[in-house]
């Protein structure tokens, strides 16, 4: 009975230290998965169609026929998401800085606004904007019509604003206070310190969460269909009706919408993840 271990392996502590290569995120889909997903949908559509009579257009033919219209609706979704993101980012930057203001009243009000809009369901905010804002406003005798899509855009920009405000606040807070001290000792004004020294350092930290938020907004824009905006989901429903509401068309048509959003949002997600990884290493 010898105490020596049978294997010739040295003690674990004597082994050279090796960093375990851990993946920073869950296994991710590759573009090839998206392609497979699309092919799968087409097959599904094909089998559904094969079960019915061949007199009508096949689901694939229906999609091809209506694709220009559906895609124009999708472009509209993208447009709404981009404008809502731009408006929300501008307002959110202001709100985020207001939360950090020296004036306690301003900071409290900004904080309350942020919390309110961050914790309200997006759809409810959308309803409020749709029904509280008139269909046109008159400024100095000039009538400016406010179409539904414009109101919906404002509706989406509210939660964006609150989320961007929180991103800005968190990023500014994450800059060490010694940066403020150094800038103060060089006689910079608080405003100069914020805009020239602190915020430029925050861009890197803010970009990944900001892009995540954008992907969420892009996907949320389909909610505008509930309030009657002619975006992709509304058009998909109309196309379905126009094709006689055949049940076998349901999956292919809505599947097409899903695919469009997936192909748009997934690369954003990938890119965000890559940015995050790069900033982590730096």
């Amino acid at each position: 009975m010898s105490a020596e271990p049978k294997t010739g392996a040295p003690l674990a502590v004597l082994l050279p230290f090796k960093v375990e290569t851990t993946r920073l995120s869950a296994p991710r889909l590759a573009p090839v998965h998206a392609a497979l997903f699309g092919v799968g949908l087409a097959l599904l559509a094909g089998t559904a169609w094969a079960q019915s009579g061949a007199a009508q257009l096949s689901p694939l033919e229906v999609i091809v026929k209506w694709a220009p219209l559906l895609l124009s609706g999708f472009v509209f979704n993208i447009l709404i998401s981009m404008v809502a993101m731009a408006l929300g980012t501008a307002a959110g930057l202001g709100l985020g800085l207001a939360m950090l203001a020296q004036n306690p009243l301003l900071a409290r009000v900004a904080w309350a606004l942020t919390q309110f809009f961050r914790n309200a369901p997006w759809l409810v905010l959308l309803f409020f904007v749709m029904f509280l804002v008139p269909f046109q406003v008159t400024i100095f005798g000039v009538r400016i019509p406010l179409p539904d899509w414009a109101k919906a855009t404002v509706g989406f920009s509210l939660p964006v604003m609150a989320n961007v405000a929180e991103i800005v606040r968190g990023a500014v807070r994450s800059v060490p206070s010694t940066q403020w001290e150094a800038a103060e000792s060089l006689a910079f004004t608080p405003r100069q310190i914020m805009w020239r020294i602190i915020l430029p350092q925050c861009v890197k930290r803010m970009l990944p969460p900001w892009m995540n938020l954008y992907a969420l907004v892009a996907m949320a824009t389909v909610q505008a269909s509930i309030v009657g905006v002619s975006e992709m989901l509304t058009l998909t429903a109309q196309v379905h009706t126009a094709e006689g509401g055949r049940p076998e068309l349901f999956a292919p048509l809505y599947g097409f919408a899903l695919l469009c959003f997936f192909l748009y949002c997934y690369p954003i997600d990938r890119f965000t993840a890559r940015l995050e990884r790069r900033f982590q290493i730096r």
């Binding site: 010694t178 940066q179 001290e181 150094a182 800038a183 103060e184 000792s185 060089l186 006689a187 910079f188 004004t189 100069q192 020239r196 020294i197 430029p200 350092q201 730096r282």
Partner: protein, 256 residues
Amino acid sequence: MAAPTVSPPVWTPDQPIVQLIDVHKSFGSFEVLKGVSFDVKKGEVICIIGPSGSGKSTLIRCINALVPVSSGTIRVENIEVADPKLDKLALRRKVGMVFQQYNLFPHKTALQNVMMAPIHVLGQDKREVEERARDLLKKVRLSGKEGSYPGELSGGQQQRVAIARSLAMRPDVMLFDEVTAALDPETVKEVLVTIRELAEEGMTCLLVTHEMNFARDIADHIYFTDRGVIVEHGPPATFFTAASDPRTREFLSQVL
């Protein structure tokens, strides 16, 4: 029509450039400074030494109003630092400060770090500032590093950029807050050489330091603080050899 006007007292170079009279500072119920007074004449080099937590850093931060004092008087030239209506920006244009952790702006190159304040704070001409900034980087022996970002420089190099950045504002007084404490032993020297040159050129310097040999070489006057008061002070020759207070003697026996 001769309304009496209160003009600020005019400062002349024969008066102390920095004057502290009975300065107290408390953080909550903890009193860090318990009545500190001293004068610094123009061109003098003052070293403040003492054990950790004795209020050295707080003291030096009070002078450029990074930390507000609780009571007492601080005067820099003719500026009353403890005045509630203090123009902080005017004060900080006169007083430069270098920190233990360098605190360079990480998103700017070495040259941009040096150039930023003169351009945006003093509104000086960009080309003139750039020329001066290059000269300053040369002076701290960092020619060729103008385009490097702080993350690409060693600690000693970063600290010398920080000194150049502060000098670019052409201050009348420089404050150094344990500027070598975070450095590798081999890079301490290059920073000390820079400070020594600055002192030899006649810059008024206040240093909080743990480098006793350096303090002995460079200081005109040494102050030893412990628990918020100045226990002992004097020129280095007498301070290091003939310390009378037991606390000073104990501290010196530990560090020398």
